[in-house]
């Protein structure tokens, strides 16, 4: 039980490390991030939306992963986000788009697309493991319980 809890805390900490680092790097070099998004093979009209949506989602997921009550949702969110990043990296490696863009975000920028894919798969695996372990945890009773069928009679 203690080992499982420690594993959960470690997985959460690693995901927080990734998401907070990535979002902070984007905000600290916002112009370059905007510039890098314009280099991606999707319409430029998406950039003003994505430039806020991606880092804010990463911060929201980090906060959700800190607290026990929101952690499972945080793991599911991480799974979706990392899944989308992984699909995008695979699509680029399979030459699905007209050209191969640069990768972005702090030191992650220096990774090649195959290295990027390995990193994404690693964190995708962590998110999946976290969600599965968290689901198995005994459910904590909420402060206000829903009325049972018997109590309503």
């Amino acid at each position: 039980m203690l080992r499982r809890q420690l594993l959960l805390e470690s997985i959460s900490a690693l995901l927080i490390l990734l998401f907070l680092y990535a979002s902070m790097s984007k905000f600290l070099d916002f112009r370059t991030f905007y510039h890098d998004l314009n280099n991606q093979p999707f319409p430029h009209s998406w950039t003003p939306f994505l430039v806020w949506f991606i880092p804010l989602t990463e911060i929201a997921l980090s906060l959700m992963l800190i607290f026990e009550r929101t952690r499972l949702s945080g793991f599911y969110g991480s799974l979706v986000l990392m899944g989308l990043f992984t699909i995008y990296a695979i699509a680029i490696l399979l030459n699905f788009f007209a050209y191969v863009p640069c990768s972005c975000g702090g030191v992650i920028k220096h990774l090649t697309w195959p290295q990027h894919l390995v990193l994404n798969l690693f964190f995708l695996g962590l998110s999946l493991s976290g969600a599965l372990i968290q689901r198995k945890k005994p459910f904590k009773q909420p402060f206000i319980t829903a009325p049972t069928k018997q109590s309503l009679v």
Partner: protein, 101 residues
């Protein structure tokens, strides 16, 4: 356990925030005028995403200069004229099949 949890979380937050500050680029060369090398001269590249893009690659895509004599590498990649997949004004340049009517 709670103490361990908060130690781990605090460490993750501190490392990520400090790491982002430490790895932040000190000088953003993309804010300077960008040039591309034609093989014989350095020519102004124009606006990124409009006049050119940098595709993935290991060569130098654009250069910048501080004195007009020495040019330094700025963006890495392969210099490609044009704005990627963005069509600025499709009506302005109709296809031959549409103009034949």
């Amino acid at each position: 356990m709670k103490k361990m949890k908060w130690t781990l979380m605090s460490l993750a937050i501190i490392i990520s925030v400090c790491g982002a500050f430490v790895t932040r680029p000190k000088f953003d060369c993309t804010q300077a005028t960008q040039y591309y090398f034609t093989g014989g001269a350095y020519m102004p590249a124009g606006t990124y995403g409009v006049n050119y893009i940098c595709e993935a690659g290991t060569t130098t895509c654009t250069y910048y200069t501080t004195n007009g004599i020495t040019f330094f590498t700025c963006q890495i990649g392969s210099y490609t004229p044009g704005g990627g997949l963005t069509v600025k004004n499709p009506e302005a340049n109709p296809s031959p099949s549409n103009s034949s009517h």
